[in-house]
């Protein structure tokens, strides 16, 4: 027993040591270059809000991208989530659908955004498509986990009336999972506002485009302004959706 735990500690330390070089860890650089860091940090202050109208307009676009990306994903995640559930769909359906959703989830929104830019051109729509695909993968998994943990008895009660499978789902399954589904969808909306500000950096519209430009042109005072706006909006949305969740559940 002791030997086993010793072995695992050794293994964990071994992995950390092995990754040290590849990740280029140089703690001394933090101290040696601390002067640089300090003057770098100084460049951020005071934040430069001269172009705040553009920032706010682009931040709104970012939120709009997140809204559409999430709504389309929720619409798709309902059928896909049900098809992923082992208590609804037989193995020959739920296994392949789960793998498909794994794929949608495994690939980051940024990668999808770059691919969709090729397909539909630069701009927010590419961002919407990227969020849509990735979020569908995530929500389908979360939705199906909720479906798999329902109480089977009410569903059987509906089945006993001679109802068909879709009616069993609408009357027996969905009322049981709806609070969880709403909560997951709101949570994904919050994360999608964050993601939408990043997919912009590869050209998919919104505040990310501006963020990328000001960083590349070393305008750190403006960068600070943009970051502050992102922080404000994201925390604002977190607060609002927490409220909504409380009301709905």
């Amino acid at each position: 027993m002791r030997l086993m735990s010793l072995f695992f500690w050794a293994l964990a330390l071994g992995i950390l040591a092995w990754s040290w070089k590849g990740a280029d860890i140089r703690p001394m650089a933090l101290i040696a270059d601390s002067g640089n860091m300090a003057s770098f940090a100084k460049d951020f202050f005071p934040p430069d809000f001269t172009d705040w109208r553009t920032y706010v307009a682009e931040m709104i676009v970012t939120v709009q991208v997140a809204i559409w990306g999430t709504v389309l994903a929720v619409i798709c995640a309902i059928p896909f989530g049900l098809l992923c559930s082992s208590n609804i769909a037989p193995p020959w359906i739920h296994q392949p659908v789960r793998r498909l959703m794994d794929a949608a989830r495994a690939i980051n929104e940024m990668v999808f955004a770059m691919l969709f830019i090729v397909a539909v051109g630069l701009g927010p729509f590419a961002g919407v498509l990227a969020l849509w695909v990735h979020t569908t993968g995530i929500l389908a998994k979360l939705f199906s986990e909720a479906v798999e943990s329902i109480d089977p008895r009410p569903v059987e009660g509906i089945r006993a009336t001679g109802a068909n499978l879709l009616e069993e789902i609408v009357y027996g399954v969905i009322p049981q999972v709806i609070p969880l589904w709403v909560s997951y969808a709101l949570y994904r909306f919050e994360s999608n506002v964050r993601s939408a500000s990043v997919v912009g950096m590869v050209g998919a519209g919104g505040i990310g485009v501006i963020l990328y430009e000001v960083i590349r042109s070393f305008e750190y005072a403006q960068t600070a302004a943009v970051m502050l706006i992102i922080v404000l909006v994201v925390s604002g949305i977190d607060l609002i959706s927490a409220r909504i969740r409380k009301v709905l559940i």
Partner: protein
């Protein structure tokens, strides 16, 4: 034609014989009690009658229409099932839906799917639901969530759902095992009325022999998956009952309802 006819129904779960060559006929309008110790196969039999579980062999017919035969559930099982009202021990209502919506689900089998999926019930359909709730005496709670009501009220709603369904056969699986004595009495009275006024054939599994004797003229007793008695209630003898329940039977009735093991409620083929 019989409301329910079962011939040579057998089912094995793993190595345990849950049903052993069960044959049984119930005429329409009859009210029959199904008694036996827990694990004797009462629930399993009822679940086979509504086609929730496929037997290994044998046949079940409802008004002459097969619901399952030789291990196969009938293709039109949902249509046949719509003639059967099923009352569960745990009521099996959907807690977050209102009592009325729960009761209205009894009509799903005759409402076009495009309308039922949007939960669009017509005024007449709602009226049928409210009337059924009034008949079982809980129309005051029609717009409350089912989960806010007591067990007895939920069970009465479940019976109202069977009424709305227009069922001509009612299968009740330990309908009063989770209820207090007063709620139990009300539920049994309503089941008796469903049998008398609506002409439904009622097959009710019960643990309390005294209640079976009070409400049913005919009793079917099961032991180890076999039907060991099928006849008028007055032919049941004390010695037979003691043997039927073995050590489980308290000397004097009524017995405390035992809690059914989950394996009997939801048998899973091993």
């Amino acid at each position: 034609m019989h409301a329910i006819s079962v011939s040579n129904l057998s089912k094995t779960f793993g190595k345990r014989r849950a049903l052993d060559e069960v044959s049984l006929s119930i005429a329409s309008g009859e009210m029959v009690a199904l008694i036996g110790a827990s694990g004797s196969g009462k629930s399993t039999l009822l679940r086979h009658l509504s086609g929730f579980v496929a037997a290994d062999k044998g046949e079940v017919r409802i008004f002459g229409e097969p619901i399952q035969a030789n291990g196969r559930i009938a293709r039109n099982v949902r249509a046949v099932r719509s003639q059967i009202g099923f009352i569960f021990q745990q009521f099996n209502l959907v807690g977050r839906l209102t009592l009325l919506t729960n009761v209205l689900t009894g009509q799903l089998h005759r409402i076009p799917t495009h309308r039922s999926l949007l939960k669009l019930f017509s005024r007449e359909e709602r009226a049928i639901g409210l009337k059924a709730l009034a008949e079982v005496g809980i129309d005051d709670y029609a717009f409350q969530r089912a989960s806010t009501l007591s067990g007895g009220q939920q069970q009465r709603a479940a019976i109202a759902r069977a009424l709305v369904q227009g069922a001509k056969v009612v299968l009740a699986d330990e309908p009063i095992a989770s209820l207090d004595p007063e709620s139990s009495r009300k539920v049994m009275e309503i089941l008796a009325r469903v049998n008398r006024d609506h002409g439904c054939a009622v097959l009710v599994s019960l643990h309390q022999v005294d209640i079976a004797m009070k409400y049913c003229k005919r009793v079917v007793a099961m032991q180890h998956g076999r039907v060991v008695f099928d006849g008028p209630v007055d032919q049941l003898s004390e010695t037979f009952l003691q043997e039927l329940y073995g050590s489980e039977l308290c000397a004097a009735q009524p017995c405390l309802p035992p809690t059914l093991p989950a394996s009997e409620l939801y048998p899973v083929a091993a």
